[in-house]
Symmetry: C2
């Protein structure tokens, strides 16, 4: 098995995880968790999203979250980024002081309509505007529903290529392919990524995988063998898309880090510090965690 | 990715799953679940274990379970087998009418002592006696703690080879390598299995994996690529070893079947019928299920 020497983990729990929690998580608790994730040495954390507070009330404190973190971690500003669904969100993120955003467009026409209430073309037009208005804003283009859509089912690879080409034309900085509802299987990961890498050999794709059907880490294994080295995950396995029925948690950061490190793929992240977040999440947020390590009886973990 | 055309799934939920449930599951409920698993077309089901009812009270109805199934499925007798830890158990299984057993010995000296209260050599002596007394009894040799032990940590490959050679010398019919506490990683699966297949090229190893740390299906993927085509799993992801602290559920049969079928690896099993067992388990047994599909909102599964 041909595995890379190291991998980069992007923690998206504070955005994708928290947005799946109905009850509002108090801002100080959000910050407490994010600070522990910074301590654990994640180099990239998606800390919030600038979305309509009517659509996702959980994210109504985006501005405060960003302000606090930029003030207290002024030397680590490039760790932080936020998801935005449109120009309005990008402006808010910029004004809050962020210089990096995740901009999401769904490959599926109907999911894009449900998620951000506009056509894909409208989404691309706004992305172009964002790039024009804020040329220094780094944009990670999240290509959603690449591997399946809750409304349309299978997604044609040509549609994904069209999405990527549009992103290239606009000049986005990064491409993240998302299995929004956790339906991808390892063979599909291989098939889709092989074809995309052949057509777009200059792009270092990252993956955003959900573990809805338990295939998350198997999909990571498949992707690693193709040279993919950047993965998004959420501590505790929190997650789900509010506008993707049936979506469940992201792959859990701790499960992912544990697998990678055990295979000798270095992440640079302190697993124990990540695990120290779990009791806080369990006690204060009380979600159903899809993480496995979150439930391992650590009093009897195998001796090294 | 080089995957086999088909795979065999051995359902061990009625043994490994049920033994992890403290409250006694009434015999008719056990039989109801097993009958649904037969309907789902599993060709091999570990239906119970013949162990001391003091050690594992859940299995005290082993005789009744076997009697009912042999009577009602006289044309499908070869589906059924039971786990036994010693000669006493093998005798009881034989008397109950079974002609196939799983005999478990741990690679780890201390886990074998904790699990079956004897040395590995004593376990092999009893296995030899079983083969002598019941030559027509098919024996699947479950080599436990191959990939790690809760007491001893890492397991040396030489120890595993010693176990297998002993099994060969005694003339067992099948070898099943067990990750009893769910610590194996995909690279380790590749390393261990490559070495064992090189030394024992005539053996078709099967795998019994636990999903304690979420690597279950990734490990399956790794094994598939090495030509392994037989896996044990438990519907609902029930499971755990009463004498292996920290062990958690088996890989869930439904998650495994779903991944395999989605990759074009045929299992011959009716996934919907397997899933029909889940509400019964949830309602009547109320365990924490580590299965993923058990929690997928099937009202919004992706359209085909």
């Amino acid at each position: 098995m041909n595995l890379p020497m190291k991998a980069t983990i992007v923690e998206v729990g504070p955005r994708d995880g928290f947005q799946s929690i109905k009850e509002f998580i108090p801002t100080p608790l959000k910050l407490q968790i994010i600070e522990k994730l910074i301590e654990a040495n994640f180099k990239k954390i998606e800390i919030t999203s600038f979305v309509s507070p009517k659509a996702i009330p959980q994210m109504k404190d985006a501005k405060e979250v960003v302000a606090h973190l930029l003030e207290n971690y002024s030397d680590k500003k490039d760790i932080f980024h936020a998801l935005v669904p449109n120009l309005y969100g990008a402006k808010a993120a910029y004004e809050a002081g962020l210089r990096e955003i995740t901009y999401v467009i769904s490959t599926s026409v109907s999911h894009n309509q449900a998620n951000v209430r506009r056509s894909r073309e409208e989404s691309f037009d706004e992305l172009k505007e964002i790039k024009d208005i804020f040329p220094e804003m780094k944009v990670k283009f999240a290509v959603a529903t690449v591997f399946g859509c809750p409304y349309e089912g299978d997604i044609k690879i040509e549609e994904v290529k069209w999405m990527i080409q549009n992103g290239l034309d606009i000049g986005v900085d990064e491409f993240c392919l998302a299995d929004t509802i956790g339906v991808a299987n390892p063979l599909q990961i291989e098939r889709v990524l092989s074809e995309l890498k052949a057509d777009f050999s200059d792009i270092d794709f990252s993956l955003h995988l959900h573990d809805t059907r338990g295939m998350g880490l198997a999909n990571v294994l498949s992707a690693l063998q193709l040279g993919i080295t950047k993965f998004e995950s959420a501590t505790g396995g929190l997650g789900g898309c509010p506008f993707a029925p049936g979506a469940a948690g992201n792959i859990a950061s701790e499960d992912l880090i544990n697998m990678l490190e055990n295979m000798g793929v270095k992440t640079g992240i302190d697993l124990d510090k990540v695990l120290s977040v779990i009791p806080i999440i369990k006690k204060e947020i009380k979600p159903v965690l899809t993480s496995h390590l979150a439930y391992v009886d650590t009093t009897c973990v195998v001796k090294e």
